[in-house]
């Protein structure tokens, strides 16, 4: 801790100028003393003996001449057992603890440790005295919920260290020393179960980065079968307001096939966080059978909370994600919404009177966004195991226009794009991902030829649909009209999914493959239909059968019964499968 002090010389919103003596570093944390309350702030620009700082709190009541003390540390997250299940603000203060201290409101200047200092954890050593260790290798484990939490040599230690001593198996708090390391000069470094890491620096304690190849199931058909996401990949979900970004992320956070989910509610509504906090402890994680909350961390810096800590919240979240990745786990970080984070940057940039870029966003916007998404990835760890961080960010483009700077900067760096459209959400077609504009560079859960076949039916149908708007139904041939109906049916029974129905929302890989086969069969067949009214009636009924089928438990009796009804319907329409579809289905077996 340095004894560096300064005094406030000007105040403009949450940007303060401070005259300091001694040395101050960029992004250093400092505290302003306002009548005994200490307000946390971060240095964001230094000019001569004036440091400009952004305050993570409301700045009312500050006056020129107020004391500022610099800490010498950058904004850091405390890493160790006990992170899972927590609800933090953007600066890693546990909100329930703040509520105990301050009551209803988030009073400024009230801070708390990220980890409970009293709770004892069952530590089992795995390293032996004399072992040579590096940062990111582990010395012991602690059970944390369903996971084995590894206790690491702190990530900030550079070079090789020798383990001098290690505690015996037993119960310790996160701050007690459990091991002593010696460096090459023989200096002793005590190690506890927790340590701090500056959130704006990526954790790089891995042997190599791997290409993201394994698909992460989200259980959303439209995503997994058409625009999939890989473990360790990145994707973005831009969409105008009301298009269902948050509901989609919420569903993903429940059903995604990963070990840990970190939800970063960045500048969004408090009500949505409350929903998660209320709902998750009640739900069970299908993978472990335990409460969903045990695999979840919520970082919430909602829209009315101070804007500077909103900026910090995405970094805090990704740091926690990287920490659990180091244990060989698959972590999914859902950031809602990255536009709010970009706006936080814009607000500060404006106060700093920087030369504005497009739509007044700062010129460094793109590089910041790229650096954030690049913290995702699949890595090989020092012990040979694999871990991944997948990042999914929503984007809230102004006016729903994807041409704006944040969407464009994001599209450059992500591996999948799920564009939500107003037309689809207005027509209550959820999830409102527009299949015509979305793309993904990852591998689908269904065979890619079958996905391609379904996509071609869809595209063809949409083309006919838009042509029909011009030439009318009577100007369309029956065969074209049937293709149009087929694509409408595909949309209704496969692309659309009811995220509020427990069965329909959770559509696993096996089911998607099974249903896709059935769809290829039905869509790839010719029927004996005499008129357009006939055709519409037939496909309406077929659609109905498929929708009923979607609501039945996979492989249950009801499932088989509903499937039999589809087959009967198919027979009634005197369906005969086309050669193309037949080959497709054979190839799949």
């Amino acid at each position: 801790m340095t004894e560096n002090k300064g005094k406030v010389v000007s105040i403009n919103g949450n940007l303060l100028s401070v005259r300091f003596d001694g040395d101050v570093s960029m992004n250093e944390i400092c505290y302003i003393n306002v009548d005994g309350t200490r307000l946390k702030s971060e240095v964001i620009r230094i000019r001569g003996d004036i440091a400009q700082i952004q305050v993570y709190e409301m700045t009312g009541g500050i006056k020129c001449g107020d004391d500022v003390e610099f800490t010498g540390d950058m904004l850091s997250a405390q890493l160790g057992p006990g992170l899972l299940g927590q609800v933090y603000d953007g600066l890693q203060n546990p909100l329930p603890v703040l509520a105990k201290q301050a009551g209803w409101f988030l009073e400024r200047g009230v801070y708390a440790d990220g980890l409970n200092a009293e709770k004892k954890w069952e530590f089992s050593p795995t390293a032996k005295p004399g072992d040579i260790l590096r940062a990111g290798e582990y010395i012991g484990t602690v059970p944390e919920g369903p996971f084995t939490h590894k206790i690491f040599v702190p990530f900030y230690l550079l070079g090789n260290y020798t383990l001098k001593s290690i505690a015996e198996k037993g119960e310790y708090t996160v701050n007690e020393t459990v091991a002593v390391l010696t460096d090459d000069r023989g200096r002793e470094i005590p190690v506890s179960m927790s340590f701090k890491w500056p959130v704006k620096r990526a954790v790089k304690c891995y042997s190599e980065r791997l290409a993201p190849t394994e698909t992460m199931e989200t259980k959303v058909r439209l995503i997994d079968s058409f625009f999939p996401v890989a473990k360790g990949g990145t994707y973005c979900t831009p969409g105008p307001f009301g298009a269902g970004k948050t509901v989609l992320q919420h569903t993903t956070s429940k059903y995604a096939d990963v070990d840990i989910v970190i939800i970063a509610a960045c500048g969004e509504r408090a009500g949505e966080v409350v929903e998660t906090i209320t709902e998750f402890p009640e739900l069970t994680d299908p993978k472990t059978g335990r409460s969903l909350m045990e695999r979840t961390i919520i970082i919430c810096n909602t829209s009315s909370m101070p804007v500077a800590s909103r900026e910090a919240s995405v970094y805090t979240s990704v740091t926690l994600a990287e920490y659990y990745r180091q244990m060989g786990l698959n972590v999914l970080l859902l950031a809602d919404s990255t536009s709010r984070w970009a706006q936080a940057l814009r607000e500060m940039s404006g106060r700093l009177e920087e030369i504005p870029g497009e739509e007044a966003f700062p010129a460094y916007l793109e590089s910041y966004i790229a650096a954030f998404y690049e913290r995702a990835g699949c890595v090989r760890l020092p012990d040979g195991s694999k871990g991944s961080v997948t990042i999914g960010g929503t984007v809230s483009p102004a006016g729903g226009n994807f041409e704006e700077p944040v969407t464009q900067a994001t599209l450059k760096v992500v591996g999948a794009f799920h564009g939500l459209s107003r037309e689809r959400s207005d027509a209550r077609k959820y999830p409102a991902i527009d299949p015509l504009i979305s793309w993904s560079k990852y591998k689908t859960v269904t065979a890619s030829e079958k996905s391609a076949f379904c996509k071609s039916v869809l595209h063809h149908g949409v083309e006919i649909g838009s042509m029909m708007k011009v030439v009318g139904e009577e100007g369309t041939s029956l065969s074209d009209y049937i293709i149009y109906l087929k694509s409408e049916m595909l949309d209704a029974v496969y692309l659309q999914q009811n995220s509020f129905d427990l069965v329909d929302a959770n559509c696993g890989k096996a089911r998607q493959q099974y249903v896709t086969d059935k769809l290829v069969y039905v869509l790839g067949s010719e029927y004996s239909l005499d008129s357009k009214d006939d055709a519409r009636g037939f496909f309406n009924r077929m659609r109905q059968k498929f929708i009923d089928w979607n609501y039945t438990e996979f492989e249950s009796d009801a499932f088989q019964k509903a499937e039999a009804e589809i087959d009967a319907m198919y027979a009634e329409g005197q369906g005969s499968i086309s050669r193309q579809a037949e080959l497709l289905l054979k190839g799949g077996e």
């Binding site: 000007s10 919103g13 009312g60 500050i62 609800v87 209803w104 409350v274 607000e347 139904e473 929708i547």
Partner: protein
């Protein structure tokens, strides 16, 4: 204790700068001008140069006028005595009642700890089918009413004020036409709701800075009532005027504008107001309905656009009706699952069919031949518009649902609706 300064360095628009020491950020000051006293608020400090926004505006301020710093931030008096009263943006009475000065509470306070909120799960009935059935209003929700000038948004607001189940109503008027102010006063007192209402009114002819104070005053009072176990409904009209007032001040102070002249923190500013909507875990609640007029009917205009991202849905008022497309109550899922089991499915199906009706209507207008299916849709659309969408329809939720089934059965066969079979089996009216 109060420091007095009488050297005003500059006056630009509504913002003045004074050389002063020991002044706190956001502190309130009083200026004595030849036209009387006005409050002013500190919004920037650079060394000993202090900028203040003057509530009464810059007109007529002289460089020699006296500025007295009051040592506290903007506050509002809170007690039961507020009920039935009307105030302006400085907190002074607009009616003939006495000024209130006891139990002063700061305005624009910190946000509620999310862990002290509870899930919004109580429906707020309004007996307007387009709200109750299709986009249910939920206690603690924040919803804007998007409309263009000329739409009957204040009438809708007044009707909601009279019909909604709330203990206290706080009305915040910003840039209100004087006629509209009178209309609200009369409507609420005729409907017998004035005694549970507090009004903070800024009319179009009042100073701009006072306009910016209205939401904070209204919401601070609402929050205090909520902490006394009351369910409070806050009605704000019109938030676009509020945003324009902010723009005016920001430009005066030479801030870099971000989009169409609005300051870069427009989103955060609007959010900190809307987020005051809350359901406390063992106390009352605040629900916010705010009119946002869209200049040129453009929803991508920065004010409605930013609002849409903050609020939990929106009501579109168009042609005197709440439009089903685009109108959305995000929280309806929390309540409409337990009203009646056919509620959700019926709602979705009716909207989907109405959307098909719109497409057919377009086809018809282009002169295409109508198929049998098109005819059905046309019949359906007309019934839907006249019997459910009209704003004058006053039906309870259950009556509206029954009417919905009847309209469907008048126009379609069961399997044409796309509703799950077990629901149509139960609710399809028998003829």
């Amino acid at each position: 204790m109060n420091k007095v300064f009488n050297k005003i360095e500059s006056i630009t628009g509504n913002v003045i700068t004074v050389r002063a020491e020991g002044v706190r950020y956001n502190e309130l000051a009083q200026i004595n001008t030849r036209f009387g006293k006005s409050l002013a608020e500190v919004n920037k400090i650079d060394g000993n140069l202090v900028s203040l926004q003057v509530f009464a505006g810059g007109q007529g301020i002289s460089t020699g006028d006296e500025v007295r710093f009051l040592g506290h931030e903007m506050r509002v008096s809170f007690s039961e005595d507020l009920l039935g009263r009307i105030f302006n943006g400085s907190g002074e009475p607009r009616d003939k009642g006495p000024a209130l000065t006891d139990n002063l509470k700061p305005i624009g306070g910190p946000s509620v700890n999310p862990t002290k909120r509870i899930l919004a799960n109580r429906m707020m009935r309004t007996n307007i089918p387009m709200i109750d059935m299709f986009n249910t209003l939920v206690v603690s929700q924040k919803l804007p009413i998007f409309s263009i000038s000329g739409e009957p948004y204040n009438q809708l607001l007044a009707r909601i004020a009279l019909q909604a189940e709330a203990d206290v109503i706080v009305l915040g008027g910003m840039g209100l036409k004087y006629d509209d102010f009178l209309y609200f006063k009369e409507e609420l007192s005729n409907g017998g709701a004035l005694s549970k209402t507090v009004m903070f009114i800024h009319t179009a002819s009042d100073p701009t800075v006072e306009c910016m104070m209205i939401p904070d005053m209204a919401l601070a009072v609402a929050e205090q009532f909520a902490l006394q176990d009351k369910d409070v409904l806050v009605l704000l009209t019109d938030m676009t005027n509020f945003a324009d007032a902010m723009k005016e001040i920001a430009i005066t102070q030479e801030q870099v504008p971000s989009n169409r002249g609005y300051p870069g923190d427009l989103y955060s500013q609007l959010a900190s107001r809307y987020e005051k909507a809350v359901d406390f875990d063992d106390s009352g609640s605040v629900t916010v309905l705010a009119v946002t007029t869209m200049p040129g009917d453009d929803v991508t205009h920065p004010v409605p656009d930013n609002t849409g991202y903050i609020t939990e849905g929106q009501y579109y008022l168009k042609g005197g009706r709440i439009e089903p497309f685009g109108s959305l109550s995000r929280l309806k899922q929390n309540v409409n699952g337990k009203t009646r089991k056919d509620h959700r499915a019926l709602m979705d199906a009716m909207i989907r069919l109405y959307s098909s009706y719109k497409e057919t209507l377009e086809k018809k207008n282009m002169g295409f031949a109508m198929t049998r299916w098109d005819e059905k849709l046309l019949k359906y659309g007309q019934l839907f518009e006249s019997r459910l969408m009209d704003l004058s329809v006053n039906l309870s939720l259950e009556e509206a649902l029954d009417l919905g089934w009847k309209i469907l059965s008048d126009c379609f066969e069961k399997d044409e609706t796309g509703i799950k079979s077990d629901l149509t089996d139960e609710f399809w009216p028998v003829k």
